[in-house]
Every structure is written in structure tokens, then in C-alpha cells.
């Protein structure tokens, strides 16, 4: 025999302020929960989406970031000759040798001394082919010209980065000829120019920092890695491009999820306490009613269920509120540092449907946990005493 939900709804309406406060308290916890995970989500996806899972990134042995790596032109030629490499539409191997430097560039904003570290990636036209998710607006740079292509996220935040404008760095002026997107990945926080130009202006010499190549066989990573690392002429490490960048986000990702778990964990305990209080108060003020229900023949477990549902519904409403509070931050761009290269990575808060669902589940769990002991107290109420 079920106690009709309308009873709970009417009872809840009797105490609108308490109910609203409890729901809103839970809502705020859910909002923080969703927002923090959206942050961790956005950051992780910026770096995990950087690089394809059929691309191989080759760096010098022992180097843990492109910044500290170095590959000579001769080594690059050896690498480009490996048979595991896919060929492009022109019949030549899909190999992109790249230089990598981090420079100070001025951010937009009133403070002209606001500099941040930006990745300058020297590439060839091949780089746009090897990376499948790059979409270019404008024309790519011409050979032999001081021209650059600017990542979309960077363009919004740094000076003189609109197409047609001129940026000044490394002692030269560079014309911005295109912008590009890369699925929101950290490539969008980089400036790309011709490798030969960047070599001349920055690092000097004609060596590269890394070589990225497309595998002919998608599952052939292990084999290609063995071949490259086993070659006596080379001293290199080979990484799957996607996992390499994902690994760079691990430390910060860990800090962010630690923060998310700690903060929302502590907050949720507080909110559960609040829910427990509300439900206890609600039950003690309804003592005679519960006694009547029990006398009428409702089973104790129906009473338990009824109050659990009441608490869960209040919490669920709070969860919905929390999701609504958090929703506007979706897509907001913020930035932090990729500690492997000390360069700035811009990324967007990402609220996914599954994140919202987990927020709601979290809310209901808080409600059920908070409602359990009061509900059990109600169901075990000695009828005679309660009716007195």
C-alpha cells in the first residue's frame, strides 16, 4: 500500500521557505560540482584532443616535452623513410617535422606588460594534412614569407592577431594570414609559421624539436614504435600523439579533480546535514499525522519510502536548480599553463549531458542519504506515544 505522493507534495507546500532553502543549498553544491568538473573536463579534453590516435610523435630519447627535445635534419630524413608511414594524396609520406619554441607575447587588455608564454610551432604545409582535425580560415602561409597562422583561442586573447594584422616577435614582423581551429584542443593556443622561418628567427640552426607522422596502419603503433626506437642510427622515443598530450595534462588534471572532489565532497556533507535537519523537523512536526497513517494500516516501510521519496524529490529539484545555475559557464574560455612546456593553454568549460546527469544523481543521492535516518525514525514511530 503506497502513500500517495500528493500527501508529500501538500506537506512540503506547508513549509515553502524551508523547502526552498534546502533545495537551494543542495542546488549550490550541485552547481559547484558541475562547474568544477566542467573545468576539469574542458582542460582534459583540450589536451586529449590534441593529436590524433593514428599519429606518431617522435622526439629525442628522454625528452618529456617538445620543448626539451631535438631532432636533427639528418635524423628527420631517416625517420621519414620508414615504411610504416602513410602516404598523402601526392604520393609522398605524411611526415611533419616541427620546431617548437615558447615565446612571450602581449595579451589583450589595458596592461601592456601582461605577457604570457605562447607556443610557436614551426611547421610545413604537411602539418595541416597530418593533423586531421585542423580547419583553417584564410590562406596558409607562403613559402619563404614571414607569415603566421594563429590558433582561434589565441586570436581572441592576444594583440594584433586578427587576419591581416602584424605581430612582432623574435625581432621580426609577421603577417597573420589565417586562423585555425582544432576541435578546441591546445593547438588552438599556438602560433604556427613556416619551420624554416622560425628556425632562422629563433632557435637558429636547421634542426627540429619533433617529427609527427601519420601511421599507414592505424593499429600499427607498437610495431612502428619498435622499429623507430630499435634503429641504431636514431636516439628517439616514439609516442602516440594523442596519449602524449593527454599525459601532459595528468598532473594538472589530478589537481583539478582532487579539488573538485574535495570541495564538493565537503560541501555535500554540509548539504546532507541540512537535508537531515529539514527532514527531522518536518517529521517531528508531522508526528500526529504519521501516527494516523500508521493507525490506518500503512506499513512502516511505506512510511519510510514516502519520506525518502519526499527528500529525494526536494533534492532533485535542488539538482535541477544547480544545473541551471551552472549552465551559463558552458563554453566560457579560461586558461592555465601546460606545465610540461610552461605555455599557456586556453580551454572552454565543457558541460556535457552526462555531467548534468551525474549532477542530478549526486543531488538525489544527497537527498536519499539525508532523508534516510529521519524517514526511518518516522517509520519506527510508536503509534500510541505519537497520538498522545
Amino acid at each position: 500500500m503506497k502513500i500517495p505522493l500528493i500527501y508529500n507534495v501538500r506537506s512540503v507546500m506547508q513549509r515553502p521557505v524551508s523547502t526552498a532553502f534546502t533545495a537551494l543549498g543542495i542546488g549550490l553544491v550541485v552547481a559547484v560540482f558541475v562547474a568544477m568538473l566542467a573545468l576539469a573536463n574542458g582542460f582534459a579534453s583540450a589536451l586529449t584532443k590534441t593529436g590524433g590516435d593514428d599519429n606518431l610523435l617522435v622526439m629525442r630519447k628522454g625528452a618529456d616535452s617538445e620543448l626539451s627535445s631535438g631532432i636533427s635534419r639528418a635524423d628527420m630524413n631517416i625517420i621519414a623513410s620508414f615504411p610504416q608511414i602513410a602516404t598523402g594524396s601526392d604520393g609522398r609520406p605524411l611526415v611533419s617535422p616541427e620546431t617548437y619554441v615558447v615565446l612571450n607575447l602581449p595579451r589583450k587588455g589595458p596592461d601592456s606588460t601582461l605577457l604570457a608564454n605562447v607556443v610557436m610551432r614551426g611547421v610545413s604545409q604537411r602539418a595541416f594534412e597530418v593533423r586531421k582535425n585542423i580547419k583553417v580560415t584564410g590562406r596558409t602561409f607562403n613559402n619563404g614569407q614571414s607569415e603566421v597562422c594563429v590558433g582561434e583561442k589565441l586570436a581572441a586573447r592576444y594583440r594584433n592577431t586578427a587576419i591581416g594584422e602584424r605581430m612582432r616577435f623574435a625581432g621580426r614582423e609577421w603577417t597573420v594570414v589565417c586562423h585555425f581551429t582544432a576541435d578546441g584542443s591546445s593547438f588552438e593556443s599556438e602560433v604556427w609559421g613556416e619551420a624554416e622561418q622560425f628556425q632562422g628567427a629563433m632557435r637558429g640552426g636547421n634542426s627540429y624539436q619533433s617529427v609527427t607522422l601519420r601511421l599507414a596502419d592505424k593499429g600499427g603503433f607498437e610495431e612502428a614504435k619498435r622499429a623507430l626506437m630499435g634503429d641504431q642510427r636514431l636516439q628517439v622515443d616514439a609516442h602516440l600523439e594523442s596519449t602524449f598530450y593527454a599525459d601532459q595534462s595528468k598532473l594538472l588534471g589530478r589537481i583539478l579533480s582532487f579539488l573538485a572532489v574535495m570541495i564538493t565532497g565537503i560541501m555535500s556533507v554540509g548539504a546532507v546535514f541540512g537535508a537531515v535537519n529539514t527532514m527531522y523537523a518536518s517529521i517531528s512536526s508531522r508526528t500526529p499525522e504519521i501516527a494516523v497513517l500508521l493507525t490506518l494500516g500503512f506499513k512502516p516501510h511505506s512510511v519510510l519510502l514516502s519520506f525518502l521519496v519526499e527528500s529525494a524529490v526536494i533534492a532533485f529539484i535542488g539538482g535541477v536548480l544547480g544545473c541551471l545555475i551552472a549552465l551559463p559557464i558552458n563554453g566560457m574560455v579560461t586558461s592555465t599553463t601546460n606545465w610540461a612546456s610552461f605555455s599557456e593553454v586556453a580551454f572552454a568549460f565543457r558541460i556535457t549531458p552526462s555531467l548534468l546527469v551525474s549532477g542530478l544523481v549526486f543531488a538525489v543521492v544527497m537527498g536519499v542519504v539525508g532523508g534516510f535516518f529521519p524517514a526511518r525514525k518516522a517509520s519506527r514511530m510508536p503509534v500510541v506515544q505519537a497520538l498522545r
Binding site: 521557505v17 524551508s18 532553502f21 534546502t22 537551494l24 543549498g25 549550490l28 553544491v29 552547481a31 559547484v32 562547474a35 568544477m36 573545468l39 629525442r60 630519447k61 628522454g62 625528452a63 618529456d64 616535452s65 620543448l67 626539451s68 619554441v101 615558447v102 615565446l103 612571450n104 605577457l115 604570457a116 608564454n117 616577435f169 623574435a170 629563433m202 636516439q235 598532473l251 589530478r254 589537481i255 570541495i263 565537503i266 560541501m267 556533507v269 554540509g270 548539504a271 546535514f273 541540512g274 537531515v276 535537519n277 529539514t278 527531522y280 523537523a281 517531528s284 512536526s285 579560461t334 586558461s335 592555465t336 599553463t337 606545465w339 610552461f342 599557456e344
Partner: protein, 381 residues
């Protein structure tokens, strides 16, 4: 004073509920104090540095080194009384999961310039200076890896490939914990010998005789090297630290917003608890009024009750926030050396608790004070 037993009895009437409310206030203030401490700690980290020290970097980017020859030229700049240099080594130990940054430093001049900040026992210092492969390692790092003085440790170079073995000859104590207890310092010459063709100093550190002149010194240096192959960017050590802190991104805003949400959520919970308590006591308040309690006394009683809850919670929460980092040595994976709750944070926390007391107590207190006796009594009878 004479009403204290009354307030206490009311608080103890619903022990569970009072405890839960106190605990939620405590949790909120714990969280608030901890979050704010992250922000203040970052600010402190951004101010690390002596006023009389300056850093000279490559103007293009910090990853580019500077020529060794600059050392002598820098020493001749007016107001400069000491020059040393260091290099970012970028090694990892074991599985590489623990992040730390070994520096190659010019031993004699470096320890001289930092002699007031890193306190090293004289015999350890001597042992370090004597031996080319010796290292000085911070106490935090010794603890993290289980190293001790005299150990040989091998790091894998990430920028400078290969295995590098060092002998730990000393450790240090810090005057200012914000310098970090996870430093790893070794001889610049050891690095240079194995990489003669591509090692030059990463940055120079200067000591000047008059902090007031730092702007003049910076301008003189940057002007001197403007048209050379490696232009410089010179600033105070504090500006250097501040630049490092900005790398974290806008943490202040993030944590500030969360802190607000936490405080607000707990405000709701505390206010709710007080409201419910008062609603249940409507009849009793009416009785007190027939006995002759004035509206003002009743108002005060309720506010005091709210205050006791808020302040007890604050005491527990802030106390935990102060004690826990000390007890556990929490430093956020090494990013926040010397993490602690500042006096300012404790005061702000206490103010929030007071605010909490007033706001959560006001409505129920007002309602209680304004309660019409006859109506309330009718409900009682």
C-alpha cells in the same frame, strides 16, 4: 548573563540537529579558509624574493639562455654588488610522477647571494662546494623520495639527455617557507662539462646595493644588451615570482566564486535550521511573553542562540583549517610551499561567522519578537 542557561537548554534540546548545523557551519568555514589560503598562498608566492635581488632573462622567452660572457659585463653595472647564474635542468626521478625542478647553479656565488635565505650547516656547505657532483636538496624533497644525506641519486635528464648521478651533501632550512622545501641545487660546472657546446646560463641573479635603484639598474642592463644577439629582460626577483604565479591562470576568481557559493549554501542551511527551531517553539515563546519577557529580550535570546551555533562552527572549522595543513604538511603537490592559513583569513572567517549569526538569526528572532501572544496561545491550548 542570567539567560545563558535558557539559551543553552534550547541549544541542547535537539542535540543532533544543533550538532549537524554546527558541523555544516564548521565545514563551510573550513572550506572557505582553505580556499582563501590557496589564494593568499599564491599571492605570497608571487611576492617571494628579496628587494635587493634582480633577475636577468632572455627577452624573447625564458627558455632561451644567455651568453656566459654577460656575467662579467653585469658585474660592472652600477649598483650591482653580486652576480650569479642558474640553469633549469629538467630532470626526473624514478617514474617521473613527482614534479620538481633541479637547478644547476654556480655554487660559490649562488650560495653567497642566498646566504640569508637558505640556511645550510657550514660543514654541509663545505662538502657541497668541494665536490663537483654534489647536490643540496630541500628537506621536503628528501622526505618525498626517502633520500638522506650521503646518498647517490640518479636523475634522468629531460633537456640534457642521459643519466645524471649526484651525491647529496647537504640540505637547508628556510627563513621564508615560500621559497619551497623541494629545491634541488647542483654545480653548474657538472652540467657544463657534459654539454659544453650548448650550455650557457639560463638566467642571471644580481644583488644590488640599493633596492630603490632597481628600475635604473634594469634599464641600464636592458639598454646595454638591446642590440646584441640576446636582448635581456631584467626585473626584480619579486616580479619574476609574480610572473610565475600568473601561469596558474585566474585561480583567484575560480576559488573566490566557489568560496562565495559555499558560504551562501551554508547560510541557507543555518538560517533554515534556526527558522525551523523557532517555528517549533512558537508556543514556548508565547509563554515567555505571558511571564513578562519583553520582545527585545526574546529577540536577543534567539540571536544569541544563532550566534552560539555560528561561532562554535567557526571555531571548529577555522581551527581545523589552521591545524590540518600543519599536521599533514599539505602543499598541493609541491605547488604551494609553506601553505598555511593567514591571520587575515582567520579574521575574515570570523567575520563571516558573525554575519552568518546575524543573518540566520534575524528573521526567526524578528518573528519571535513580533509573535502575537493571544494567537500563539490559542495554538498551544
Amino acid at each position: 548573563m542570567r539567560f545563558i542557561p535558557l539559551v543553552l537548554s534550547n541549544l541542547l534540546r535537539q542535540k543532533l540537529r544543533t550538532t549537524l548545523t554546527v558541523m555544516s557551519v564548521a565545514l563551510a568555514l573550513f572550506l572557505f579558509a582553505s580556499l582563501r589560503s590557496v589564494v593568499t598562498q599564491l599571492e605570497i608566492s608571487g611576492q617571494v624574493g628579496a628587494a635587493n635581488r634582480m633577475i636577468v632573462q632572455n627577452a624573447a622567452a625564458f627558455i632561451f639562455p644567455l651568453p656566459q660572457s654577460y656575467a662579467n659585463r653585469l658585474a660592472t653595472v652600477p649598483h650591482v654588488t653580486g652576480v650569479t647564474w642558474a640553469n633549469w635542468f629538467g630532470g626526473k626521478y624514478g617514474d617521473g610522477k613527482k614534479f620538481f625542478g633541479p637547478f644547476a647553479v654556480d655554487p660559490v656565488s649562488y650560495l653567497d647571494i642566498y646566504k640569508n635565505d637558505f640556511i645550510i650547516p657550514p660543514e654541509q656547505k663545505e662538502a657541497f662546494l668541494r665536490e663537483r657532483t654534489a647536490a643540496i636538496v630541500g628537506p621536503g624533497l628528501l622526505k618525498a623520495f626517502g633520500w638522506k644525506i650521503g646518498d647517490d641519486v640518479t636523475l634522468q635528464g629531460t633537456i640534457f639527455p642521459g643519466d645524471w648521478t649526484f651525491t647529496i651533501r647537504g640540505t637547508y632550512a628556510l627563513k621564508d617557507p615560500a621559497y619551497g622545501d623541494e629545491q634541488f641545487l647542483f654545480h653548474y660546472d657538472y652540467l657544463y662539462e657534459r654539454n659544453k657546446e650548448n650550455v650557457t646560463p639560463g638566467w642571471f641573479i644580481l644583488r644590488i646595493d640599493d633596492p630603490q635603484q632597481s628600475g635604473v639598474v634594469a634599464k641600464a642592463i636592458d639598454d646595454e644588451f638591446r642590440n646584441s644577439t640576446a636582448p635581456t629582460k631584467t626585473g626584480t626577483e619579486q616580479a619574476f615570482s609574480a610572473g610565475f604565479v600568473t601561469l596558474f591562470g585566474n585561480i583567484q576568481l575560480l576559488l573566490g566564486t566557489i568560496g562565495m557559493a559555499v558560504v551562501f549554501a551554508i547560510l541557507l542551511i543555518a538560517a533554515n535550521a534556526m527558522l525551523m527551531n523557532q517555528r517549533e517553539r512558537t508556543g514556548e515563546i508565547a509563554v515567555l511573553k505571558t511571564v513578562g519577557f519583553t520582545d527585545r529580550t526574546i529577540f536577543t535570546l534567539v540571536i544569541v542562540e544563532a550566534a552560539v551555533i555560528a561561532l562554535t562552527g567557526a571555531l571548529i572549522g577555522l581551527g581545523l583549517a589552521i591545524i590540518l595543513p600543519k599536521a599533514t604538511g599539505f602543499n598541493a603537490f609541491g605547488f604551494l610551499p609553506g601553505f598555511h592559513v593567514t591571520g587575515g583569513t582567520a579574521i575574515v572567517g570570523a567575520v563571516i561567522a558573525l554575519f552568518l549569526a546575524v543573518v540566520s538569526g534575524f528573521t526567526p528572532a524578528y518573528q519571535a519578537a513580533r509573535l502575537p501572544v493571544v494567537q500563539a496561545l490559542r495554538r498551544v491550548e
